[in-house]
């Protein structure tokens, strides 16, 4: 182990290890962040939701978007898998259907960055208690 000899050394180490606890720090203040829920039931996984989830996790960071990505169970929209529910702070959740990795990129660039809606939004037609 290289010794820390200055404030700059400590800062460099801190930046390198920050990712280790990023996920935990973000989830502490989840209500202020964009929440992305990927439906990961059997049908979702079969339709490629695992790739979608990985894509979100890797590319949100690259784009500098602070968000919490979680998995959830089946949302019921099996015809439109992979499905993703996105909640921006203070807004109603929106469900997107057919989210392949290409579409994930589109969502990041359009909805997450510029608040532009994209095609294939599933109208939320139920209420949860």
């Amino acid at each position: 182990m290289e010794k820390i000899k200055s404030l700059a050394d400590l800062k460099r180490i801190k930046e390198n290890v920050q990712t280790k606890i990023d996920l935990r720090e973000k989830s502490e203040q989840v209500e202020n962040l964009i929440q992305i829920k990927v439906a990961m039931a059997t049908c979702g996984i079969a339709a490629g939701s695992k790739d979608t989830m990985n894509y979100f996790i890797e590319n949100l960071e690259k784009n500098g978007i602070a968000a919490v990505v979680t998995q959830t169970g089946c949302m019921g929209y099996c015809y439109a898998e992979p499905t993703v529910e996105i909640t921006k702070p203070g807004k109603d959740p929106i469900v997107f259907g057919h989210v392949t990795t290409e579409r994930a990129e589109e969502i990041i660039q359009k909805y997450l960055k510029n608040d532009e809606l994209v095609a294939d939004i599933i109208p939320v037609n139920f209420e949860t208690i």
């Binding site: 182990m1 010794k3 820390i4 000899k5 200055s6 404030l7 400590l10 800062k11 180490i13 801190k14 290890v17 920050q18 990712t19 280790k20 606890i21 990023d22 996920l23 935990r24 973000k26 989830s27 502490e28 989840v30 209500e31 439906a39 990961m40 039931a41 059997t42 989830m53 990985n54 996790i57 890797e58 919490v68 990505v69 979680t70 998995q71 959830t72 169970g73």
Partner: protein, 596 residues
């Protein structure tokens, strides 16, 4: 590729006692089986504070809070929660009042009112991994002090913050540091007092187990401010896990160059060693602690000289409690002005309390000074167990006193607790309900003080023994009104004449129970009755002929053959023979034996 999910498992002493380390092993095995070991990370953390329902498992990022998890539940958590995203309903915490499952920790009453400064990393980071501490701005307070501040600036910042000692005395920390900094010597010492001895208090242990680096960093900051290069942690040997975590942390800090020579390229050097105590209550008193570290008997000596002038090996020594130290890095990073806005006029910041006794949520909590007892007991603590009535709460351990219903809305801080006839102490809070006998409670604490008295001064050695005997006499139903006067007078004499804090405060439980529960003392003395039904000598055992089926189980278990009766006929207790051991009551399957 970073992990998508973190599973935090409590690795504190409490949860480990319920096999939390096996939960970790099982989780890791199950994840490996499903090839998820690169996606999900399992982390052993420090105490979450919610010890009542341990072992705790928390899943991030969705903040799912699982309680009372067993190693066998690991598979279900992996299969259901991790793979399918469905929470394991049966392991969720259930709100005791609403009877509903609470899915995430954000919605638990237990955490809502808490503000965690000293416990900021407990239950959040892996205490055995220095990198996680650094990621939480660890050691940046030390870096700030050494590279950007002069020692007197650091002391001023601590003075300005209004931080007071959390070990019991409540002495201003900045002032203490200033005293120690003024004395010149070839060597000075920073001592961390980790001799936590109040019955029921475990905040210091939890901090050392859950966030050992915060204590190490603060000791180094103190060393820099007062000009000391050696740090010593006086820790009781019965805290093996805390010792192990501290050792690991010290070793890691040395490897990273955060302890040792020329820290951050400056000419400041600092090293820390551990000293083990045998677990004597009096050794929490700073002069006794220092003598014990020197290899002498753990007996207190008169102050002055204060340790700041002549302490360990007759050198200037600064002694701070664990929780006090854990606050220091946060104050340096966020500034004194942030800290002194929290709390009340004369007590700044937060205080950690160990909730114990007849309360629903037994555990460790941290609240801003000025929070009321009602908020702590009913909102955070979830109220009294089994819907019983609140009677009193004992604060300050054996040196403290009892607070009653009328004190429930008093904002808790150092001065208000003293004014109410109790004290802050190290933060133990033992909640009592209608079934607790206050005379017995006072007797229990005196028993503790008699046991722990070092015997050096007469008032404490003999006086407390007499207090205990008199209380015992009252619980036996042999007390007189003169005894009550003796208790009061003797208590005052001991308070005025004992040598150290132990003796000066030991009569507090007696005085405060007499003050607040005078009627209960009278009932014991005049009516020879114990209203709470706890003092066995004052009880009469009785068999209800309606409920007794004459099975004879009680008679067979009675050690003095005091129970008579024909088979299949109601039995009777011969009260002249009965020694009131309670064996019959315990054995009876029909609840026919009662006391009155």
């Amino acid at each position: 590729m970073s992990y998508k999910m973190h599973i935090l498992v409590c690795g504190g002493t409490g949860c480990r006692a319920s096999a939390s380390h096996q939960i970790i092993t099982r989780l890791e095995e199950c994840l490996k089986e499903k090839n998820l070991e690169d996606e999900v990370q399992v982390i052993a953390t420090g105490c979450f504070g919610f010890c009542e329902k341990g072992p705790i498992v928390k899943v991030m990022p969705d903040n799912t809070f699982y309680v009372q998890v067993k190693p066998d539940d690991a598979e279900e958590i992996v299969n259901e929660h991790v793979i399918k995203g469905r929470k394991v309903e049966r392991l969720l915490y259930k709100d005791p009042e609403k009877k509903e499952a609470v899915s995430d920790s954000k919605h638990m009453g237990f955490y809502k009112k808490q503000l965690r400064i000293a416990l900021r990393n407990c239950g959040f980071i892996d205490p055995e991994n220095i990198e996680e501490y650094i990621a939480r701005e660890g050691y940046s307070a030390l870096a700030k002090c050494i590279t950007k501040m002069k020692p007197e600036e650091v002391i001023n910042e601590i003075k300005l913050s209004g931080l007071r000692g959390r070990g019991g005395g409540g002495f201003p920390t900045g002032l203490k540091w200033e005293f120690a900094s003024k004395y010149q010597a070839d060597q000075k010492y920073v001592v961390c007092n980790a001799d936590e001895g109040d019955p029921g208090a475990f905040m210091d242990r939890s901090i050392m187990e859950g966030d050992p680096h915060s204590v190490i960093e603060a000791m180094a900051i103190c060393g820099y401010s007062i000009g000391a290069t050696k740090g010593l942690v006086y820790i009781r040997a019965e805290y093996p896990l805390a010792i192990q975590r501290l050792k690991t942390a010290i070793h890691q800090a040395e490897e990273f160059g955060l302890l040792g020579e020329n820290i951050f390229g400056s000419n400041f050097s600092f090293n820390i060693e551990l000293r083990y105590g045998a677990g004597a209550f009096v050794c929490g008193e700073e002069t006794a602690l220092i003598h014990s570290m020197e290899g002498h008997r753990g007996e207190p000596t008169m102050k002055p000289p204060f340790p700041a002038e002549s302490g360990y090996l007759n050198r200037p020594t600064n002694v701070n409690n664990v929780e006090t130290l854990a606050n220091i890095p946060a104050i340096i990073i966020k500034g004194a002005n942030w800290f002194n806005k929290i709390g009340t006029e004369r007590s700044k910041g937060t205080k950690v309390f160990a909730l114990a006794g007849k309360i629903n949520n037994v555990g460790l909590i941290e609240v801003p000074m000025g929070t009321t007892l009602r908020e702590v007991i009913y909102e955070i603590g979830g109220g009294i167990k089994n819907g019983k009535k609140f009677k009193a709460v004992q604060t300050g351990g054996p040196s403290g006193g009892c607070l009653t219903e009328k004190h429930l809305d008093v904002p808790i801080d150092f001065d208000n607790l003293l004014a109410s006839g109790s004290m802050m102490g190290s933060g133990g809070m033992i909640v009592m309900d209608e079934d607790d006998c206050m005379v017995s409670v006072a007797k229990f604490y005196l028993e503790f003080t008699v046991e722990e008295s070092c015997g050096k001064c007469t008032p404490c050695r003999i006086g407390n023994k007499r207090l205990h005997e008199t209380l015992d006499k009252i619980t036996q139903g042999k007390g007189t009104m003169e005894d009550l006067e003796t208790l009061k007078n003797l208590s005052r004499v001991i308070k005025d004449t004992a040598l150290c804090g132990l003796g000066q405060t030991s009569p507090n439980p007696v005085l405060s129970t007499i003050d607040n529960f005078y009627d209960e003392y009278l009932a014991h003395i005049k009516d020879k009755k114990c209203p709470a039904g706890q003092c066995k000598a004052l009880l009469m055992f009785h068999i209800d002929p309606e409920l007794c089926i004459g099975c004879g189980l009680c008679a067979r278990n009675c050690p003095v053959d005091a129970i008579v009766g024909e088979r299949k006929e109601p039995h009777f207790i011969n009260t002249a023979k009965c020694i009131k051991c309670g064996a019959c009551m315990e054995k009876c399957k029909f609840k026919a034996v009662s006391t009155r």
